[in-house]
Symmetry: C2
Subunit: 332 residues, 2 copies
DNA sequence: CTGAAAGCGCTAACAT
DNA sequence: ATGTTAGCGCTTTCAG
């Protein structure tokens, strides 16, 4: 069944209607090459009258780049990725590029399949999260001839462009902050670390800094599945059941930390005097809770922006460290 | 400067390498038409060896549909839209379709420009938020010949497909619930209603139900700009400064309501005994706060899914009401 | 079962 | 300043 089907107006029809050649119409429309004021008006009039919409599929095939930028992201539930898309799409739209996306659910095999599908559109660039990809993905990307940007990670080897911050360093900074504050019995509540390799790097950096200070994680609780507020609440509840004497907890991100904070509020656990909480990402909501969350603000929107700018400008391969900022907050 | 540029392998090269005609390669690759087991193997071997990736730009031009689905959404900060995208992209990916998107920032003029840009890709369908569009947008869409889905709204006239729920009815249900609970001095805290027309419809439905019960809004505070937790906190603070005797507040959505809830927590205002709070959307986070938020759960992911399914199936024009569910919570 | 050839709608030389 | 023409890489008749 074919509902709504009108064969779209073509450039040839416009040319006909305006009484000029096809290339003239093309020139006028792209405002490229020369043509008289008068032809321009005739062409534009025909375009208006017929309601012509250029066909970029044909245009792309005939000329060079597709001006399509492909995002293959792990998730849309984790606000991190919508933030990146937001930053990128603003820049892309301003530069006549189009964003295309698919969601891997943190599955590398799925990522490989989706990258393959994306490459079929001959995008100008492919944007991925982090450096951990299958051999197949890497091979395709290298062979594709299109720009590749790996985002939100800096701990690893980039294929081409890398934009973000060091998760390892963020983990270290978090630990150092808690140690400096005098906390010693520190626990960790995280989500599925096998899949979210950036969260794993933060965890590792955190442990590394503890180790360097002669300390170690006093307890650890991993919530199966992706990060969520509920996961953080449950995770903290379970962690405290096993290790009641903790004085601080580091969470895999702010969603998890908020869950932990809500748990403390509900149970009447004084924060930070009885238990300090530390998150990661610096979400806006953490700034508005009764006690602002102690966390690290990450450059999510900026990561998307910068990556898009580099791609649009066809900049040389490089890694851009956008850094992060520790927010002291009131929960640690 | 052109970094990374290898002219991609073409179908012709594969044909050559496999010693067969182009059309044979095409048949094998799309598993359509007939060919011998032997040729199939030869072709696949060449495809593997050369690392051939079909060019869908060319494929689309030569055949029928683009299998591209365009989303023109107001925002990526409001979790509602990532949720819709998430639901849709799962279905689209499973059906070999690609999602393309742009962000309007709730600006109808911008929406028009972006729809025009999208149409240039000859998408199978265009998905928009709600029914309020410029005349230009409507005209283009009608002339485009592609499917149109208007999402998250049912109060208006659809162009083709409509999937979502009635915001007006949701607003009414919210008011009726609060009245049933015995609240009488009810205030409203919202965000920019001119731009978010769906929030405006909820507001109107809410007032309508109050009116039907012989009541009326006791006070109203509009936070300039998009909805946010901070906006809700500030909005409630200001509203209470002007109307200290309210016994309940209806918020334009859960983000705003959470801000209000945090304000109450911070100020020690007992909820709901001193002040009841009611939101809209049923976000997960509202289920985990010390007191679960009273709100209405909306079918965001399902809206994306159903819309995608209808488009993929090329279903007849129709409006699908996915309804909503009132969650009693503990804040009202 | 397979190949040749004609487009799809547009851009980019190349003429004029 | 403007028209003509040869592709871009693929799908799709249509022969064989």
């Amino acid at each position: 069944m074919d509902y709504r089907h009108q064969p779209a107006v073509t450039l040839a029809e416009v040319a006909q209607a305006a009484g000029v050649g096809e290339s003239t119409v093309s020139r006028v429309l792209r405002n490229h090459g020369s043509f008289s004021r008068k032809t321009r008006d005739r062409v534009m009039e025909a375009v208006e009258r017929l309601g012509y919409v250029p066909n970029r599929i044909a245009g792309t095939l005939a000329s060079a780049g597709s001006r399509l930028v492909a995002f293959v992201i792990p998730s849309l539930s984790n606000i991190v990725f919508p933030d990146v898309l937001r930053g990128a799409s603003a820049v892309l739209e301003a530069n006549q590029h189009q964003a295309v996306f698919s969601v891997t659910d943190y599955d590398p095999e799925r990522e490989e399949a989706l990258v393959a599908a994306m490459l079929a559109w001959r995008p100008t660039a492919v944007m991925l999260a982090g450096f951990e990809h299958t051999q197949g993905t890497l091979k395709m990307l290298r062979a594709s001839g299109c720009r590749v940007a790996e985002l939100l990670d800096l701990d690893g080897t980039a294929l081409d462009l890398a934009v973000g911050f060091s998760n390892r360093a963020a983990g270290r900074a978090s630990a150092e902050f808690l140690l400096r504050r005098g906390y010693r019995r520190i626990g960790y509540v995280g989500h599925d670390l096998d899949r979210d390799t950036r969260a794993a790097k933060r965890h590792d950096g955190f442990c590394e800094a503890l180790g360097a200070a002669g300390a170690a994680l006093a307890g650890r609780e991993i919530h199966a599945g992706p990060s969520s507020v509920e996961g953080g609440r449950l995770g903290l509840e379970r962690l405290l059941a096993r290790y009641p004497d903790l004085d601080a907890v580091y969470f895999s991100n702010d969603d998890m930390a908020l869950g932990g904070y809500f748990h403390c509020l509900a149970r009447g656990i004084p924060v930070p005097s009885a238990l300090a909480l530390f998150g990661h990402n610096g979400l806006d909501i953490g700034r508005v809770t009764p006690q602002p969350l102690s966390t690290i603000r990450t450059p999510r929107v900026a990561t998307g922006q910068v990556a898009a700018e580099l791609v649009v400008a066809d900049a040389p391969p490089q890694a851009v460290d956008l850094g992060f900022e520790l927010i002291e907050g009131a929960t640690a």
